[in-house]
């Protein structure tokens, strides 16, 4: 994917000199004043029956994990929350000022058909201050321009997100998927949930995050979840391989602009699952690769697959401690680093699958779980909404032979990855 054709037709960066809407201002930047070490907290819940749950469930799970964060970031992603606009992409936008809004809206007006633009509903909450301008847009790509671009609608959206994040100063896309949205900011998660009136939304899948910023600034755009299309990621940990991951992603047209390591995980899932059409388990094994010593103990057929996978996707491997929850319209996936350097527990109650950093968070929401367990490091916990489109190629569990097909491209449905 290259940016140039679309870039040519979109307004890009504002001239570096000359008066803007509000005259000159310094380039918007966030910097960490100091470094703090700590943890984060996360949750995810998915009702596999597709039954919608109030956002209050997500807030409750985060509220008992309050002490895992320090008030410098909280956020949620909800799925199935915009049934009035199921086929529109919904852009949740954060603007530092009106100028950023004006420029972003120029991009929308030129390249999309916007059917509804409105300020995000919020309420004043003690402890939440310095909020950016928050707007949401229900839009679809301009049909003529989409056709001219020779891209899929999803790729067109990805272009626009990268364009706004990288070149509209002070504007950030909080989320850009269909029938979903990210609600995030600087504050404790229960305050952020209250601020965004989350109790008024109902979704079949929710993820939540409580941030304790360690290496990067605590700012509104840097709160979790990080999203692209309907993929959203909440993350506890550190992605030490951020440098190599972001360079790898740049080669595929992704631009890492949000100054936080977690961003790469969202883009890697988009690349591996949507564009490379890797089966979910393989994508998870590419990101949390089995150790070489483990591979050596596998049956040869399986070992060959994993050696290939590590060779092909070495730069996509997430190194460092992490627990992440990936949300999307078809469900939810939770994954740990391969030696479990961050906590992750899971539970099931009927059709509800839930994950969190602490068991207490799940017990706050589920009154009588059928099962509570600690997932094995590197093994995904998967929830799939019945009847919803499953955007992921392949089934949940693959045999070694099927894995081999997926990696080596014997079958035409997994032609993308070719290993000699």
């Amino acid at each position: 994917m290259t940016y140039e054709p679309l870039l040519d037709r979109m307004p890009t960066t504002r001239p570096t000199s000359g008066a803007g809407f509000f005259g000159e201002r310094p380039k918007y930047a966030e910097e960490a004043a100091f470094k703090i070490h700590g943890g984060c907290g996360l949750m995810g819940i998915c009702d596999e029956s597709g039954t919608l749950m109030s956002g209050v469930n997500a807030i409750k799970a985060m509220a008992v994990q309050r002490d895992r964060g320090n008030g410098l970031g909280g956020g949620y992603a909800g799925y199935g929350i915009y049934p009035e606009f199921p086929d529109h992409y919904c852009f949740h936008m954060m603007y530092h000022d009106l100028k950023a809004k004006e420029e972003s809206e120029a991009v929308f007006d030129q390249h999309f058909v916007v059917d509804l633009a409105e300020p995000m509903p919020t309420r004043p909450v003690k402890g939440i201050s310095d909020a950016p301008l928050l707007w949401r847009y229900f839009l679809q790509p301009d049909p003529y321009k989409l056709e001219n671009s020779e891209m899929s609608a999803d790729d067109y959206i990805v272009h626009a997100v990268m364009l706004i994040n990288s070149s509209v100063d002070g504007a950030f896309v909080a989320s850009s998927g269909k029938n979903m949205g990210a609600f995030k900011g600087v504050g404790f998660p229960e305050e952020i949930g209250h601020y965004y009136l989350l109790e008024e939304y109902a979704g079949h899948t929710w993820t939540g995050h409580n941030r304790f910023p360690t290496n990067t600034p605590g700012w509104w755009g840097g709160a979790h979840p990080f999203t692209l299309l309907d993929w959203s990621i909440v993350h506890n940990g550190e992605i030490s391989s951020y440098g190599i991951n972001s360079r790898y992603l740049e080669a595929f047209g992704y631009k890492c602009t949000l100054g936080t390591d977690t961003e790469v995980a969202a883009y890697l899932f988009d690349l591996l699952l949507r564009r490379h059409k890797l089966p979910l388990e393989l994508a998870c094994k590419a990101l949390a690769s089995p150790l070489w010593t483990e591979i050596d103990r596998m049956p040869e057929e399986e070992a060959a697959v994993y050696r290939s996978l590590r060779a092909v996707y070495g730069p996509a491997m997430l190194n460092g401690p992490f627990a992440i929850v990936l949300g999307f319209n078809g469900g939810m996936v939770a994954l740990n680093d391969r030696i479990k350097l961050r906590p992750l527990v899971a539970a099931r109650q009927g059709t509800k699958v839930m994950v969190a950093s602490e068991e207490s968070a799940m017990r706050e929401v589920l009154d009588a779980p059928d099962k509570v367990w600690a997932p094995k490091a590197g093994e995904p916990v998967i929830a799939r909404v019945k009847g919803a489109d499953w955007p992921i190629h392949g089934d949940l569990h693959l045999s070694a032979g099927e894995l081999s097909c997926a990696v080596t491209g014997v079958n035409d449905s997994c032609e993308i990855v070719e290993v000699g």
Binding site: K60, E190, H194
Partner: protein, 272 residues
């Protein structure tokens, strides 16, 4: 369950004292949605006031229960799911959990007993230097990491289920026993990197281990009669506390792991 209010954010915990009822030397605290500071303050106040047993009801996620409490013949009963660092630095009391425990139980514990009737999480018994931890079910990663012994202090931990990777990592002293009996985990009873960096103490496993599971610093032996005589009283106490059958526990041979060197990194970090 949490308090939902219309005029402010949902609060996971409220900073209000728990509801207390005293009956002789037993204090019952309903700690539903109470913040850990108020809960722990109430426990300490109770013990200071001559209480011998504190029963905690509706526990969910409150941290540091039993942390730093000193004294013998004191007991805390936990009904629910206690939060991180339960019994950290604890010096004497008994804490019994009717449910699962989260991460960091018995962190740097000095003396006393922790009994968990369910599972426990990661870094169980981190740096533990005395006392006993008895878990009925499964445990997580890095269990018994850096347990240590000093003079007459010998920490003891028995886990009835299975364990994940790094069991007994950097262990410097004490006794760590894994039974693999009440497990819901798939695969082997213990993960890899068993006893990696171990330089003191002993690990006993009910059953066998493969060489790949063991760290480079451990030697693997079949437990002999003297070894079994050493651990039998511990197992008897464990079975008594958790309602298990000692004969069944002893019906399988045990494997003993001890360090091959008491200074595995001596050559790595010293000036030569």
């Amino acid at each position: 369950m949490t308090t939902v209010t219309t005029d402010g954010p949902i609060e996971g915990y409220v900073k209000v004292d728990p509801i207390a009822t005293r009956d002789g030397d037993v204090l019952t605290l309903d700690v539903q949605s109470r913040y850990y500071k108020q809960v722990n303050a109430a426990i300490r106040a109770g013990f200071a006031d001559g209480v011998k047993t504190v029963k905690l009801l509706n526990v969910n996620g409150q941290r540091y229960i039993g942390t730093g409490i000193k004294g013998k013949d004191l007991k805390i009963e936990v009904h629910g799911t206690p939060g991180q660092d339960l019994a950290m630095f604890m010096d004497g009391p008994t804490v019994e959990i009717f449910g699962n425990a989260q991460d960091g139980v018995g962190n740097t514990m000095n003396a006393g007993t922790v009994i968990v009737h369910g599972d426990a999480g990661d870094v169980l018994g981190y740096g533990m230097r005395g006392g006993k931890v008895f878990i009925k079910g499964d445990v997580g990663y890095r269990v018994g990491i850096h347990m240590k012994a000093y003079e007459d202090l010998r920490p003891i931990m028995v886990c009835g289920g299975g364990a994940r990777d790094f069991f007994g990592e950097y262990m410097a002293g004490g006794l760590l026993i894994l039974l693999g009996m009440n497990s819901r985990l798939e695969g082997p009873m213990v993960g890899g990197y068993l006893g990696t960096g171990m330089h003191g103490g002993a690990i006993y496993l009910r059953g066998e281990v493969e060489p790949w599971q063991c760290g480079k610093e451990v030697g693997v032996f079949i437990a002999n009669e003297a070894d079994m005589a050493d651990i039998k009283p511990v197992l008897a106490e464990y079975c008594e506390a958790l309602g298990m059958d000692l004969d069944e526990v002893l019906s399988e041979p045990f494997t003993k792991l001890i360090p091959v060197s008491h200074r595995p990194y001596g050559k790595l970090y010293t000036y030569l």
